[in-house]
């Protein structure tokens, strides 16, 4: 998994020699819940093996702050969207493909977390952005009053790009290695090599004989409760 994280606050100077491209990050929060997206900031994306992302964003205007509070009061949604693009350099020409990727978070949780959000961009194997997610920390809505001037001015955003993880395959090589090591160990001290039966046959044989004599008529007698241990395993 390649994750490059940048905690960016508005007003930070963005690296000028950043060799990537920029796509708009838009957001929408309306009291009537009809999405009308406007610019929130610009995502600086860099392709290549090390997917990096920087976000430069503006402060919320006073009007926006009051709208956000109003939306939070009616339990509306705060939506964000990014255009579907590819991070790969060779796909730059076709990167402006049709459509957007959208997601949402409850406006109240954004307000109550004082605009602390975590935005994750997910890419597929070839570097296309396939999804975006936003969560706030904390994520709950408890109805806490928020002083707008202080807390709702700047976003405290953590943004990252996540590429798919390569799923593991059956690990045969380490297993065989381990087996060989165990074999070697056994080979070194022949005392160990003797099996349990070989060591204790003089006790086992009379015991088995005794049991056979005393009657093994009821073998299947009580299979009933084997589940106790298995059941508890969860």
């Amino acid at each position: 998994m390649t994750v490059n994280v940048c905690v960016c606050q508005s007003g930070d100077a963005v690296d000028t020699d950043f060799s990537g491209f920029s796509v708009p990050l838009e957001h929408s929060f309306e009291v009537d819940d009809v999405p009308r997206f406007r610019l929130r900031g610009a995502l600086q994306l860099r392709g290549g093996r090390e997917n990096g992302v920087y976000l430069s964003q503006n402060q919320l205007s006073e009007k926006d702050r009051s709208t956000l509070k109003d939306v939070a009061a009616v339990d509306g949604l705060y939506r964000i969207r990014v255009p579907r693009v590819s991070l790969q350099a060779d796909r730059q020409t076709e990167r402006q493909s049709e459509g957007y990727l959208t997601t949402f978070v409850r406006a109240c949780s954004l307000v109550e977390s004082h605009l602390s959000d975590v935005i994750t961009l997910h890419t597929d194997v070839s570097g296309y952005i396939i999804g975006i997610s936003i969560v706030t920390i904390p994520g709950s809505c408890r109805g806490v009053e928020v002083e707008d001037e202080v807390d709702l001015e700047v976003f405290n955003t953590t943004i990252s790009v996540v590429a798919p993880v390569t799923a593991p395959v059956p690990e045969t090589a380490p297993y065989i290695e381990r087996m060989e090591q165990e074999m070697e160990k056994k080979g070194k001290n022949p005392q160990e090599q003797k099996s349990f039966f070989a060591k204790y046959w003089m006790y086992i044989v009379p015991l088995v004989l005794f049991l056979m004599m005393s009657g093994a008529q009821d073998q299947s007698g009580g299979g009933a409760g084997g589940g106790a241990a298995n059941g508890g395993g969860r």
Binding site: D33, D75, L77, R79, R84, G99, Y100, L101, T102, T103, F104, V105, R106, S109, V118, T120, H122, D124, V125, S126, Y128, I130, G131, S133, V135, T136, I137, P138, G139, S140, C141, V162, A163, P164, V165, T166, A167, P168, V169, P170, E171, T172, P174, Y175, R178, Q219, S220, G221, G222, G223, A224, G225, G226, G227, A228, A229, N230, G231, G233, R234
Partner: protein
């Protein structure tokens, strides 16, 4: 079986456990039913009088022999699925059955008594047209196979090819049928549509073309459907447009003109738009066919005609008649005709073929099933009785794939429901309570009771308790009575009236939906079909979704199931609502669905009649609620903001989430687009709604707890790469939250290919894929954990769970291919889980989930030992004793359905494919049940013994004390 719940789990150390079934448990709680599918060819063995064999070949590529007295299978051969195993032709002569399979790829001869293969020949390539037995001098020696461009002759006893000849002008002429009348010649008929017929005559000995002629026939488009050979080599054709019959003498060199006989001259007329059908019969392949034949003029009009001295004369007109068939016994050929009698019954009569005269006392009354389809095929088995009259039995196949075998005077000998060979989906529904149980339920259930007052309440309670006591006494008496009888005779028949829930809810109603549109209600204990219902006008390959809207728990409201039937192409659907216990269609008005249905959603919201609300989303994202009473709409309005659903468009790779608005419109809230150029969504699965998770976390070796990430809204999305090169192909696994659209986990299994089978449950997901690099099947397990602390332990909300879960994954080699995968399910989720793996061999492997645990350690440590983790081994074992169906293999297993029972230890399993198999599994053994052979006598005698011993010793001690005091 006497079950007894013991509350305490018994200590493990004492026990000898067995995971497989014991020999005496075979068939005790499991059953299997074998099916064959829709019959395409059926031949009765007329070789000897006493023969009971009926050979069938079906559209499921099954070739089988049925016992015509019982309907049971003698033997069955299941060939490959698809065109490779398609049975093209079935011919029988004596003890041999010759089968052409795989579009003329293989020619096989089977021995019909035991079903052994006598010989097999690989035929030359070319698409199959026809096959026929060829006789010489009253003795059938060869079989001829006609391909698109060649004809070959094979020896019937060894299969060796006698000769093969290319057909002349095969690029322009479509050769379609073949005929031999036992005179040393084989005729091949071809047609150039709307131009002429080509007849080629081959010599049997060496395949030399004796004669080739072409005859003008501008009206002809296809030979196969409109022509047949009758009498001593006369080609007879029928055409609907010219309303004529045509005859052509095959062997005369002079006749090069086809003779036209207007149907008008016979006072006949073909119904408009109906393709007339000619049926002739050739009782012995070494002799020419009879000169009598049937002509079907309309769906319910047949006529028996005879060709005599070049003239066609009607023998008997059957109007109305549904079906007609010839049958031969010895030297006598008869015709059986099925005619409607009244609305619910048909009568089948026997007529002699050469005169058309009716045989006396040969009527068979066939009662049509009011819940079934119309009869569409008739197979007749004629035999000579002792008094030399002809007797017969018939097998009727109906539209709903029921095979009914009847004998005079209308006795149904057996019935086979072949629709069950193609089960699409199923549910298991609890059986209703008995009258007494319902009485008790009703007492607490009725709201009216509150108004009754105290005294009536007390009286009601007393009366219901009295009824319970009465029922219990009756039950005890029955137990006592049955105990004295031998075990075999106690078997009581299950009927729809005696259905009631057993003590531990182990007996359920299996509601099965089949591809042909027939619904079945099957008792899970015995496999008896309790009800069936055929839904007419179902398009082939429709999509079915079965939803249980109301369970049996809401007495007196009947349980309710809803079946959504969706047309695959148009997406238009309709609902069928029925009672799953009795199979009756419900009277509830069903919403009309004028637009294609994209998604269905069963909400936990219930209406005043305790039916869960079903939401149907159409292609304009409008929502229809069913039921849609005022109460429901009110509830939906109240909860609208918390109702989310998702849609998948796999053609565009788009997943989108919607939220319900108060006015039942929807709004788009999230969108995830997986580009289709790279990968394609192949499957998507949520979790089962009736699943319970008992423990929130797992206790680790160091006594800390690892909490599970239990997100009920999680969707598992599987994709496959469009690039199928073995180095670059991959399988994608996405775990997406269905409410927020958040991608919780995204993984790529490289160098992997489908088909992917997967199970998504609790906090884990298991999938199987094909590793294209190592060319083997592999299992992979993903488990999600929240970590050592729970974010919010009281309630889970997708909107408020900011931290991504920890994902653990491990893969294993599975040394067998896989057909299907399912997980066991129990009432409370305490029992450990097993995976049920359906193998192509027909076995069902019950694989403990313990083996699929990503925390299996590479190196064993003290802590992992404490936690009971099995050390990692890359290869998954397959142990024979894990096969839950021992030797009862399920052919072409397609799905496994699991359902919880009332016992926590027990999970009900139904596997379906060509066969149906039902059993119970005990993933953690039967920890809440005493064994069958539990020694009640011993334990009670020990108890009594101890009791009396205490009494006696107490008395003795008292005496002793007294004596001592006196001393």
């Amino acid at each position: 079986m006497a079950w007894l719940v013991v509350r305490l789990a018994i200590s493990v150390s004492l026990l000898y456990t067995a995971s497989a079934v014991f020999e005496d448990q075979v068939g005790k709680f499991d059953w299997r039913q074998q099916f064959i599918g829709k019959v395409r060819f059926a031949l009765f063995d007329t070789h000897s009088q006493a023969s009971k064999k009926l050979l069938v070949a079906t559209d499921k590529n099954v070739f089988a022999s049925l016992n015509s007295r019982t309907g049971d299978l003698f033997w069955r051969h299941v060939d490959k699925i698809g065109p490779e195993g398609h049975i093209d032709a079935l011919l029988m002569y004596g003890q041999d059955a010759v089968v052409v399979t795989g579009n003329g790829r293989l020619l096989r001869s089977w021995e019909t008594t035991v079903g052994g293969l006598k010989w097999e020949t690989v035929l030359d390539t070319g698409s199959f047209q026809a096959a026929a037995l060829v006789g010489v001098q009253d003795f059938v020696k060869y079989v001829a196979v006609l391909k698109k461009s060649a004809i070959s002759l094979h020896d019937l006893s060894s299969g060796s090819q006698i000769w093969v000849e290319n057909l002349p002008d095969s690029d322009t002429v479509q050769y379609q049928t073949i005929y031999s009348g036992g005179n040393g010649l084989v005729f091949v008929f071809g047609v150039v549509p709307n131009s002429h017929i080509v007849i080629v005559e081959y010599k049997i000995e060496d395949g030399e073309i004796m004669r080739k002629k072409s005859v003008e026939a501008a009206w002809m488009s296809s030979l196969e459907s409109s022509c047949t050979v009758i009498s001593s080599g006369i080609l007879l054709c029928v055409d609907q447009i010219t309303q004529s019959l045509y005859t052509l003498q095959l062997q005369s060199a002079e006749q090069t003109e086809i003779r036209q006989i207007h149907l008008q001259t016979l006072d006949l007329e073909v119904a408009s738009g109906f393709q007339p059908v000619l049926t002739s019969t050739q009782p012995n392949p070494a002799q020419p066919p009879l000169s009598e034949f049937f002509l079907q003029l309309s769906p319910d009009h047949h006529i028996l005609l005879q060709l005599k001295d070049g003239l066609i004369a009607p023998l008997r007109d059957f109007n109305p008649s549904y079906l007609a068939a010839f049958a031969t016994s010895g030297e006598r050929t008869v015709a059986a005709v099925m005619s409607p009698k009244n609305d619910t019954a048909c009568s089948i009569n026997l007529f002699s073929a050469d005169t058309g005269r009716r045989h006396l006392d040969t009527t068979i009354i066939y009662h049509m099933d009011p819940n079934g389809g119309k009869p569409n095929r008739l197979y007749v088995h004629a035999f000579l009785k002792k008094d030399d009259s002809v007797g017969y039995r018939v097998m009727v196949q109906t539209e709903d794939l029921t095979l009914t075998f009847l004998q005079q005077p209308g006795r149904v000998v057996w019935v086979r429901e072949e629709a069950l060979a193609d089960v699409v989906t199923m549910e298991m529904v609890d059986l209703p309570f008995t009258g007494t149980q319902a009485e008790l339920e009703g007492e607490f259930g009725k709201k009216a009771a509150i108004q009754d007052g105290l005294l009536p309440m007390v009286l009601k309670r007393l009366s219901s308790q009295f009824i319970l006591l009465q029922a219990w006494l009756a039950h005890l008496w029955k137990l006592f009575y049955d105990a004295r009888k031998p075990r075999s005779s106690v078997k009581n028949e299950v009927t729809i009236d005696t259905l009631s829930r057993d003590e531990f809810n182990l007996q359920k109603m299996m509601v099965m939906v089949t591809a042909s549109g027939k619904l079945f209600g099957i008792d899970s204990k015995s496999g008896t079909i309790l009800w069936k219902q055929y839904l007419e006008n179902i398009q082939p390959d429709s999509v079915f979704k079965l939803i249980v809207q109301r369970t049996t728990a809401h007495f007196p409201h009947p349980p309710q199931c809803t079946l959504l039937i969706k047309n695959k192409d148009t997406g238009l659907g309709n609902l069928y609502v029925f009672n799953p216990i009795f199979g009756k269609k419900s009277q509830i008005s069903v919403p009309a669905l004028p637009r294609p249905v994209l998604q269905t959603l069963l909400l936990p919201v219930i209406d005043q009649d305790y039916a869960k609300v079903l939401l149907l989303i159409d292609d304009q994202y409008k929502v229809t609620a069913f039921p849609s009473t005022k109460n429901v709409l009110q509830q939906l309005q109240d909860t609208a903001s918390s109702i989310f659903f998702y849609l998948v468009d796999s053609s565009q790779g788009k997943l989108s989430g919607f939220r319900l608005r108060k006015d039942l419109s929807t709004e788009l809230i999230w969108e995830v687009v997986i580009p289709t150029e790279v990968q394609k969504i192949v499957a998507i699965k949520g979790k089962r709604a009736n699943e319970h998770v008992h423990s929130q976390g797992r206790v680790m070796g160091d006594r800390s707890v690892l909490y599970k990430y239990l997100n009920p809204n999680l969707l598992a999305v599987i994709t496959e790469s469009t690039d199928t090169h073995q180095e670059r192909s991959f399988v994608g696994i996405f775990l997406i939250d269905g409410v927020t659209g958040r991608i919780v986990h995204e993984a790529v299994q490289r160098k992997a290919r489908g088909p992917v089978h997967f199970v998504h449950s609790e906090n884990w997901m298991v999938y199987v894929y094909w590793n294209s690099k190592f060319r083997r099947n592999e299992f992979s397990v993903l488990e999600l954990f929240e970590g050592a602390e729970l974010y919010n332990s009281t309630v889970f909300s997708s909107l408020d769970r900011p931290h991504p879960p920890q994902v653990l994954q491990q893969s294993y080699i599975f040394p067998a291919p896989i057909s299907t995968l399912e997980a066991t399910l129990t009432e409370k989720g305490i029992t450990s889980r097993h995976l049920l793996v359906g193998l192509p061999s027909g076995n069902i492997l019950s694989l403990p989930k313990m083996f699929l645990d990503p925390r299996r350690p590479e190196v064993v440590s003290e802590q992992s030992r404490e936690e009971n983790l099995i050390p990692y081994a890359p290869e998954m074992p397959i142990r024979e004793e894990w096969f839950i169906n021992y030797n009862q293999t399920v052919s072409r297993i397609r799905g496994i359905h699991t359902a919880p029972s009332g016992l926590e230890s027990t999970c009900l399993v139904v596997a379906y494919g060509l066969d149906i198999y039902q059993t119970r599994v005990f993933p953690s053994k039967q920890f809440d049940v005493l064994k069958d052979d539990y020694d009640y006598v011993l334990i009670s005698s020990v108890l009594f013994g101890l009791f009396f011993a205490t009494m006696i010793s107490k008395r003795l001690a008292e005496v002793k004390l007294l004596n001592r005091a006196w001393r």
